[in-house]
Symmetry: C2
Subunit: 143 residues, 2 copies
C-alpha cells in the first residue's frame, strides 16, 4: 500500500456555504463538476472535497457525528507575516478565530480558525519544514 | 493563498495504537521524530499527523469532540482488485469494516473502514481520476 492520501473530505450541513468560503473568501478554484452534494478542490497531488453530511450518511448507512477538532487540516505559510495575512483573509471570509497567530511551543508560529461548516483549519509557519515552489511540504530526515 | 493543504491531523486518544496500524499494519514509514504525543507520515507533498487529543486540546484551549465521519480521509487504488487487497490488509491490521468493497453509485468501487483511533478511511477505485507514478491524484478538467 503506497504511502499517500488521495482525498480529504469535510462533511458539512451546507456545501454551498463552505464552497463560498474557499472560492470567494480564499480565492480557490473548484473543479467544475456540478453537484449540490459535493465540490472538489485540487490541492497539489491530492483533493479536498466538501461533501453534504446527509449524502455521507447515506453512503455509510449510519449517522456521522459533528465534530470540531477530532481531525484538522493545516495550511502552511512560507513566512510568519503570511500567517497573519491568511488568518486575516480567513476572518474576512467568515471563519471564526479559535487561536490567533502566536508563537507555538514547538517553535513555529500558528493560528487556528473554524471555517464555515464547522471544521478546524490551522494556519501556520513551520521553520523546520521546507515548502517547494509548487507548495509541497517535506519533513526533513532526522528531525 | 495558494490552493493546497500542508497537513491532515487525526486526533486520537492513543497515538501508539494508531501509529502501529499505519506502520506495522499498512507498512508505512513514520518520520523518526521522537514524541509520545505526535507522529508524522510524509504523504506525497503533504503530511499525515497522528496527534494526541489531550495535546490538541491544550493547543486549542478547548475540548475537541470525538467524531466518526465528520471528516474522512481516502486512499485511492489503481484497480478494483487493489481495493480488495488493501481493504483486507486494513482488516488484518485492526480496522473495523464500515462498508465492504462494492460498486458505488458514482461509478467507482469503494469501501470504508474505521481505523484504530476512530477515524474513517475510504479505500476506493475511481475510474474517472488519474493517478500518476508518484501516486498523485488529478481530477480531469470538465468533469
Amino acid at each position: 500500500m503506497e504511502q499517500r492520501l488521495s482525498m480529504v473530505t469535510l462533511s458539512v450541513q451546507d456545501v454551498a456555504e463552505t464552497r463560498r468560503f474557499f472560492e470567494q473568501g480564499l480565492g480557490w478554484k473548484a473543479n467544475n463538476f456540478e453537484s449540490d452534494d459535493i465540490v472538489f478542490f485540487q490541492t497539489g497531488g491530492s483533493v479536498l472535497a466538501i461533501y453534504s453530511r446527509q449524502a455521507l450518511e447515506r453512503d455509510l448507512g449510519q449517522a456521522a457525528t459533528q465534530s470540531l477538532g477530532a481531525m484538522t487540516i493545516a495550511w502552511n505559510a512560507r513566512t510568519e507575516s503570511e500567517v497573519d495575512e491568511v488568518f486575516s483573509q480567513a476572518m474576512r471570509a467568515g471563519a471564526i478565530s479559535v487561536s490567533r497567530p502566536a508563537r507555538a511551543f514547538w517553535g513555529g508560529y500558528s493560528s487556528h480558525v473554524e471555517i464555515p461548516g464547522g471544521h478546524l483549519l490551522e494556519i501556520a509557519y513551520n521553520p523546520f519544514w521546507s515548502i517547494d515552489d509548487a507548495g509541497n511540504v517535506t519533513i526533513p530526515e532526522g528531525t
